[in-house]
């Protein structure tokens, strides 16, 4: 099948290429995956049923089962039943991800290790638009607030996706895919509030504009409470945001196109310490962060014939952020094109290329300064991938590479080879080798800041306080990864399936610090040391992991899903360098069990428990969390729900920040009530 609907962007393309089977085809028919709609199905006549446009979510699962990669998809229903309001909290449902809340408005989200508030090896996209910040190659999660009700699914690939997505898709890819506007006709209002979520409201209205053109507009608002620091003090991390946008989808014969845009604004905050080279070195401050942004995207697809298709995408994205540490403005213009064709019935080629133009304006008057405070850069890429099938399609062999040119490190070649085989009817095994790179961020190249104040006695043998400066390093090289993966999936029975992924990641050039100078200073009247370091390629990391997932439809109305993630990291650092701070930031063991029950047609009950091991580097204890949600659906138009997160735990700490001095905060118990009304 050929996808004529480009909502999935490159995640879809990945499947096309990786499998020779398009995940787009998984969602040729999009819309609500709905128990909601299913309630009336049995009372409908055949004539009525014949008028219903269908979704095809189950096909998605089948196709994912054929992916030679560790792939997982959260459906619209999964997201709705999670009770979560923030995307990172939704991502806690995904096997193998490391998700930790740093404060009320900050998260660390990674796959396969190296968790950090500045996690920089996970590529995040919304409808094919890259949302990680060029500033640090990571994601500001507090500004990623697509309306949850309009998300069709979230696709997550653990492991490298660089041969298609390019640099920074090192440890995984997350693509958040919103629903085609032909599937969001009518209005919906979602409103709620509770102990942490003080109040929120989402409103959307969609309409069929003409026979081949559909559209929707939406607006959302959220107001969250502050949390509590580990020492019991009140944090300053309450945040509010407002966002609005639109999406139009059209189709004219073999052409389909999407036009969409968003605009948002908000503020958040945190207790931080601004560091200074002069006594008293540390200045506790309430940092108020203002953020805003807007984006607009157009995507066009043409099925040239039954054997080939062409896709073109162009977007512009503006982001602005301003707090005591940093102020920045980024403007990104991105153009991508892709062509796919079947050379023979068993061989498919996909090729494409793109260009990204990034212009920034960075602060020269905040705690973090930049040697070059305004810069433009261009990133060019081209890729090709060949998929050869064997044994009547029961086996696939995929070979491809992406070549990217960036202005920091020049050319980067990222090859990838994958194979999948179905030895039995309900079983597949796959293996992959990938080489991926993480190119230096703007901050690593160009930023200077004070990262630490060490009171007297902190450094053995030194009877002086010290401050550590980090200086810019324009000579820093890319981090490199060689990843070896194997996996299998099987249907144990008609009601249970099992999958297992295992991997070894061998990374080199991992960014740490290297000493530049050490000077004695009397500035401010107090003798102290000023230690200057800079970012440098310092370490090698070898990571081994296992990710088993079991899904069991216990009864037609009761589904269980359990997963376990084991992660073992070892590192070695050059004697002249200082290790990356992120290496032992990950839980060695994670376990999750989720239950979804349709107790009656109207009453739904979801519960989950997760265990997260200790974080050694921060000295954070292991914790368990239980979430539950009870929902009452009255017809297809009205739903009332109440959810509790961290039910048996008033608060716990999950993570801490590295490089910057923010207070260690806890994650509270959260109770939220919600009403959803379709009209």
């Amino acid at each position: 099948m050929i996808d004529k609907d480009l909502r999935g962007g490159k995640v879809k393309n990945f499947y096309k290429i990786a499998l020779g089977i398009s995940l787009c085809s998984l969602s040729v028919f999009s819309g609500t995956v709905s128990a909601e709609a299913g309630k009336d199905i049995a009372s409908m006549s055949i004539e009525d049923l014949m008028n219903i446009e269908i979704t095809s979510v189950s096909k998605k699962e089948e196709k994912i089962q054929n992916a030679p990669a560790a792939v997982f998809a959260l459906s619209h229903e999964d997201i709705a039943r999670s009770g979560a309001r923030a995307i990172p909290d939704v991502l806690r449902l995904v096997p193998g991800l490391q998700v930790a809340r740093v404060s009320g408005n900050q998260w660390s989200v990674t796959s396969r290790g190296e968790s950090s508030i500045f996690a920089n090896k996970l590529l995040v996209l919304i409808d094919g638009r890259t949302v990680y910040s060029p500033l640090f190659s990571g994601t500001f999660w507090d500004v990623q607030n697509p309306m949850l009700e309009d998300i069709e699914r979230i696709e997550v690939i653990r492991g490298p996706g660089a041969s298609l997505w390019g640099a920074n898709a090192v440890n995984g890819v997350i693509n958040i895919i919103t629903r085609n506007s032909k599937d969001t006709h009518g209005g919906v209002v979602v409103a709620g509030g509770g102990s942490y979520e003080h109040g929120y409201a989402d409103v959307r209205y969609g309409e069929k504009i003409s026979e081949n053109l559909n559209g929707r507009v939406y607006a959302s608002f959220g107001n969250r409470n502050k949390t509590q620091e580990v020492n019991g003090d009140e944090e300053y991390d309450a945040w509010r945001n407002g966002q609005g946008g639109f999406r139009v989808d059209g189709r004219e014969g073999a052409d389909s196109y999407t036009f969409q845009g968003d605009i948002y604004q908000g503020f958040s905050g945190q207790n931080v310490s601004i560091l200074d080279e002069i006594y008293p070195f540390e200045h506790p401050t309430k940092s108020h962060t203002e953020f805003s942004g807007s984006n607009i995207l157009g995507r066009w697809n043409n099925a040239l014939d039954s054997e080939s298709e062409l896709q073109v995408q162009l977007y512009w994205d503006r982001t602005h952020r301003d707090d005591v540490n940093l102020r920045f403005d980024f403007n990104v213009l991105d153009f991508d094109t892709q062509y796919r064709t079947n050379l023979t019935s068993s061989n498919q080629i996909t090729a494409g290329g793109g260009y990204r133009w990034i212009a920034d304006d960075l602060s020269a008057d905040r705690a973090v300064t930049f040697a070059d405070s305004a810069q433009t850069q261009g990133i060019m890429n081209a890729f090709i991938q060949d998929d050869q099938s064997f044994l009547d399609g029961a086996a696939h062999f995929i070979l491809g590479t992406k070549v990217e040119h960036n202005e920091f490190t020049g050319n980067e070649v990222q090859p990838n080879v994958r194979a999948i085989w179905h030895p039995f009817e309900h079983m597949s095994v796959w293996a992959a080798y990938s080489h991926a790179v993480r190119t230096p961020s703007r901050a690593e190249n160009d930023a200077s800041f004070i990262t630490a104040y060490l009171p007297q006695g902190s450094i053995p043998g030194v009877e002086l306080p010290a401050v550590i400066d980090i200086l810019e390093n324009p000579g820093i090289d890319s981090e490199k990864l060689n990843a070896y993966e194997i996996g299998m999936r099987t249907e144990i029975s008609k009601s249970a399936s099992f999958e297992l992924s295992a991997f070894v990641n061998r990374s080199s050039n991992i960014v740490g610090l290297e000493a530049v100078s050490q000077d004695f200073s009397l500035e401010g009247g107090v003798p102290h040391l000023v230690i200057a370091d800079r970012f440098a390629n310092a370490s090698k990391i070898e990571t081994f992991g296992l990710e088993p997932v079991l899904t069991w439809q216990v009864l037609p109305w009761w589904r269980l899903q359990g997963w376990y993630t084991f992660l073992d990291e070892t590192s070695s650092t050059s004697e002249t360098k200082i290790s990356n701070l992120n290496i032992r930031n990950d839980p060695r063991n994670q376990f999750s069990l989720r239950s979804s029950m349709d107790i009656t047609d109207k009453l739904l009950f979801d519960a989950s428990v997760r265990y997260v091991d200790e974080i050694q580097s921060f000295g954070i204890d292991a914790y368990s969390a239980v979430n539950a949600r009870l929902a009452w659906r009255e017809g297809r138009d009205l739903e009332f729900s109440i959810g509790v997160m961290n039910m048996f735990d008033p608060y716990h700490q999950e993570f801490a920040a590295d490089y910057i001095h923010i207070a260690r905060t806890t994650v509270p118990r959260m109770i939220v009530g919600q009403v959803k009304w379709n009209f």
Binding site: D40, I46, D183, W300, V312, W557
Partner: protein
């Protein structure tokens, strides 16, 4: 692409905004939409009301047997607690055709074909309404096969296979189906 950049598109977008502004408070019928297998569950429930079995497997329950993934089977939740002519409907997962005792309908979903592996060969099963996801099965051993047309579910009926299975199909059902016969 020219559509995207052209004034025609902008014009349509402006019209769209106006339409929404005018209609946002107007009563709207929610566009019917559902997942594929929920709709197919509805079809199968209807099919059983328009067929007659010469030899009924059981009069105490109407068992719909499904060979498919857990996800697909869960799409049949909408049939829980439903009845046909006062007889309760039961949905049951089955592994293969050896476990069809007592089944009134047997729905063979597409999953066997996705790995590029052909369906297992099986013959007509007397007394059981066999329904297949794979349209090609209609010429093989299914009485009804689903197919998709313009994102909507359609179905074909093989009258020869129905006769072999000793099942009578109502004229109403036939009027809505694409009717085929074995060559």
């Amino acid at each position: 692409m020219t559509n995207l950049a052209g004034m025609g598109f902008l014009h349509r977008y402006v019209v769209f905004i106006l339409v929404i502004t005018l209609q946002i408070f107007a009563a709207q019928d929610l566009c019917a939409q559902s997942s594929e297998y929920e709709v197919k569950a509805g079809f199968i429930y209807n099919f059983l009301q328009f067929v007659e079995f010469e030899n009924s497997a059981s009069n105490s329950q109407i068992k719909i047997c499904i060979d498919g993934s857990a996800e697909k089977i869960s799409s049949f939740n909408a049939l829980r607690n439903k009845t046909i002519n006062g007889i309760p409907v039961i949905v049951q997962a089955v592994g293969d055709t050896s476990a069809l005792d007592g089944c009134r309908a047997y729905f063979e979903t597409e999953h066997l074909a996705v790995a590029g592996i052909a369906h297992k060969k099986r013959g007509i099963i007397p007394g059981i309404l066999t329904i297949a996801d794979d349209p090609l099965q209609i010429k093989e051993s299914s009485i009804i096969s689903f197919y998709i047309e313009d994102n909507k579910v359609r179905f074909a009926i093989n009258l020869d296979n129905a006769e072999l299975a000793k099942i009578k199909i109502s004229s109403k059902l036939l009027s809505l189906a694409k009717v085929v016969r074995n060559d």
